[in-house]
């Protein structure tokens, strides 16, 4: 739409203002994670961190700092990150999340890519139904199957194990892989495959040398999306795991009470927990739409 220079600048200003409002809780969490617990409760709050080099002396700093009146500046400390990472049982859930996310994504790709291959290049009269059925499994309300999943996991000794979580998350990711990879595979020019077949390449060669190089970006995006979904999932994790296999989502939910009073520590732990996936999402943002709609929108 044609706009005058002033209209354009006003719109840009409005866009930025609204964006900053939406983004504010994230900035605020980051700032809080750099404060001492006491500073975190100050109001009006300090907004501008000044880097300082004391880290583990957080307690001492708190002692020294007496009421001095309001300052917009505060001394940034990484002590909360140190405490969140080393003292607050963060490592175990982090490792659990990593294992569950990486392994379930890997298995989902192993199962899903061949299926997408078959559905894209050799569809038959059942393919239509299969694809729609796969969508319906992905859209199934988790609460509808949680009772039997819990009881089955209990009876198969999979309760509170990473294996149990991997089985469930693989099931969550397979339909996503099939739909996304199928949509990327359909974009591969068929002539290339036909030419290859005339030259007598095998199925594996065809995939490895003809298709893979063309769908590699799509494959990468698919893997990232599977990881984002697995990393952030809470409902299954919360009901299937306890102290042994709990992933980060469940660990963070323990700040709901009690520990929640340590908001600076909590903010640091939260930041650490979301960082990998936020960065992955930023990298994959071009393909995010395709993934979120399972390939229905590109």
């Amino acid at each position: 739409m044609r706009l005058s220079k002033w209209q354009g600048m006003t719109l840009t200003a409005i866009t930025w203002l609204l964006t900053l409002i939406i983004f504010f809780p994230i900035v605020w969490t980051l700032l809080t994670s750099l404060k001492t617990e006491r500073e975190a409760f100050n109001f009006p709050p300090s907004f501008i961190p000044i880097p300082s080099f004391q880290s583990s002396d957080a307690e001492v700093t708190e002692e020294i700092e007496e009421e001095e009146g309001y300052s917009i500046f505060f001394n940034a400390t990484l002590a909360n990150y140190e405490r969140a990472f080393f003292d607050a049982d963060f490592a175990k859930p982090l490792v659990n999340t990593l294992i569950i996310t990486v392994v379930s994504t890997f298995i989902a790709l192993i199962l899903g890519i061949p299926a997408a291959y078959g559905l894209a290049y050799k569809p038959d009269k059942r393919s239509n139904f299969t694809l729609l059925w796969l969508i319906s499994t992905r859209m199934l309300p988790p609460a509808g199957v949680i009772v039997p999943l819990f009881l089955l996991a209990r009876d198969l000794s999979l309760l509170d194990t990473t294996t149990g979580m991997i089985i469930i998350y693989t099931g969550m990711n397979v339909p996503l892989v099939i739909w996304m990879m199928r949509s990327f595979l359909l974009d591969v020019p068929y002539d290339i495959l036909e030419a290859g077949r005339i030259d007598g390449v095998s199925l594996v060669q065809e995939f490895r040398y003809l298709v893979l190089p063309l769908v590699a970006p799509g494959l990468f995006a698919t893997a990232l999306l599977c990881m984002i979904f697995s990393w952030n999932e809470f409902f299954f994790a919360f009901n299937i795991t306890k102290s042994q296999a709990e992933p980060l989502t469940v660990y963070i939910s323990s700040f709901k009470t009690g520990r929640g009073q340590f908001i600076a520590l909590m903010s640091a732990a939260s930041t650490l927990a979301v960082l990998p996936v936020v960065i992955a999402g930023w990298i994959a943002q071009r393909q995010l739409v395709t993934g979120l709609t399972m390939g229905a929108v590109k």
């Binding site: 983004f23 809780p25 009006p44 609460a143 952030n232 939910s253 229905a296």
Partner: protein, 312 residues
């Protein structure tokens, strides 16, 4: 661009070539089976169990009284007044979130569909709430922003001279809606933005020359063009919001009372607090029925796209 061939089995693009070996075709068609078998086991087996449990009287606290009761649970559940409160809560939460995220998402999509300074950064910033773990968002909103003593928003409202608000205590549903809207607005925005970017600027400029005002352009050009994108975004988001759990569990635990209990939370509560497997499974079946109604619409949207062969 919308994937138009998404559900048509043979789009004609990939016709089998004469003389190609049958065994190769068989092999390629067999590629789907490992994934399919896995999905059948992981999703349909639990589903059948839910169905079976829903026909049983079974409270884990009284395992001795377990027995087949037919459709009794189904009647018990729908004749319980609190079930209808829960259905109402689920409808209010889902409806409000979908509506508000649609309006905000469309607004941001329109704002972002032009070139301006820092557009990439703005887009990146706006999608971030969607990438953050929902449990983290919930805990940050609860403890850092809305806490009745120390929350930033609480103090902000207080400092302007209003009485100290207890957001989650006094306005639990509104607070939950605000948090979920914050998380899901980027989803709408991204899909609608993809739709807007496939709309040609010439079309809009031509109508502007014809004297159409911005509202007319929105109503008669942009919205019709976005129809399929809107349908996909709204239906998918509805399905996800219907089964939201984490935010409710962390911020309100379904309370006060059952004011913010939705169907997912009620099933969790029935299964793991009341330990009533029969009733929890029955509610699960109701949840699946509701979700399947929405899925049916979604499938129709996907079908229609492939039948019309639209190439928008």
């Amino acid at each position: 661009m919308i994937e138009t061939t998404s559900v048509s089995p043979d789009s004609g693009k990939h016709k089998r070539k004469r003389g190609e070996q049958i065994s190769d075709t068989v092999l390629r068609r067999a590629l789907i089976w490992p994934a399919l078998i896995y999905m059948i086991i992981v999703t349909q087996v639990p589903l059948l169990f839910t169905l079976r449990f829903s026909l049983e009287r079974w409270n884990m606290n009284r395992p001795d009284r377990r027995g087949f009761t037919g459709l009794d649970n189904y009647l018990d559940v729908i004749t319980d007044a609190s079930f209808w409160t829960i259905i109402g809560n689920t409808a209010v939460l889902t409806g409000a979130v979908v509506l508000i995220t649609f309006v905000l998402g469309l607004m941001f999509a329109l704002l972002l569909n032009r070139n301006f300074l820092g557009r990439g950064i703005v887009r990146t910033m706006l999608i971030t709430p969607f990438l953050i773990m929902p449990t983290v968002s919930a805990i940050v909103w609860k403890n850092v922003l809305l806490d009745p003593s120390f929350g930033f928003l609480t103090k902000l409202v207080e400092s302007v001279g209003f009485p100290t608000p207890d957001f989650l205590g006094d306005f639990p549903m509104v607070s939950v809606i605000v948090i979920v809207v914050w998380q899901w607005m980027p989803f709408m925005m991204l899909i609608l933005l993809a739709g807007l970017q496939s709309l040609s600027h010439e079309q809009i400029e031509a109508s502007q020359i014809d004297g159409a005002n911005p509202l007319h352009i929105l109503r008669y050009i942009i919205l019709p063009h976005l129809q399929r994108y809107i349908e996909i975004a709204v239906l998918m988001e509805t399905l996800f919001i219907l089964s939201i759990f984490g935010v409710i569990f962390i911020t309100t635990s379904g309370g006060p009372g059952i004011q913010t209990t939705n169907l997912s939370y009620a099933i969790y509560d029935e299964a793991f607090s009341s330990r009533d497997i029969g009733d929890a499974s029955t509610m699960g079946i109701y949840a699946i029925i509701v979700a399947n109604i929405v899925v049916t619409f979604f499938v129709q949207v996907l079908r229609r796209g492939s039948e019309e062969g639209v190439t928008t």
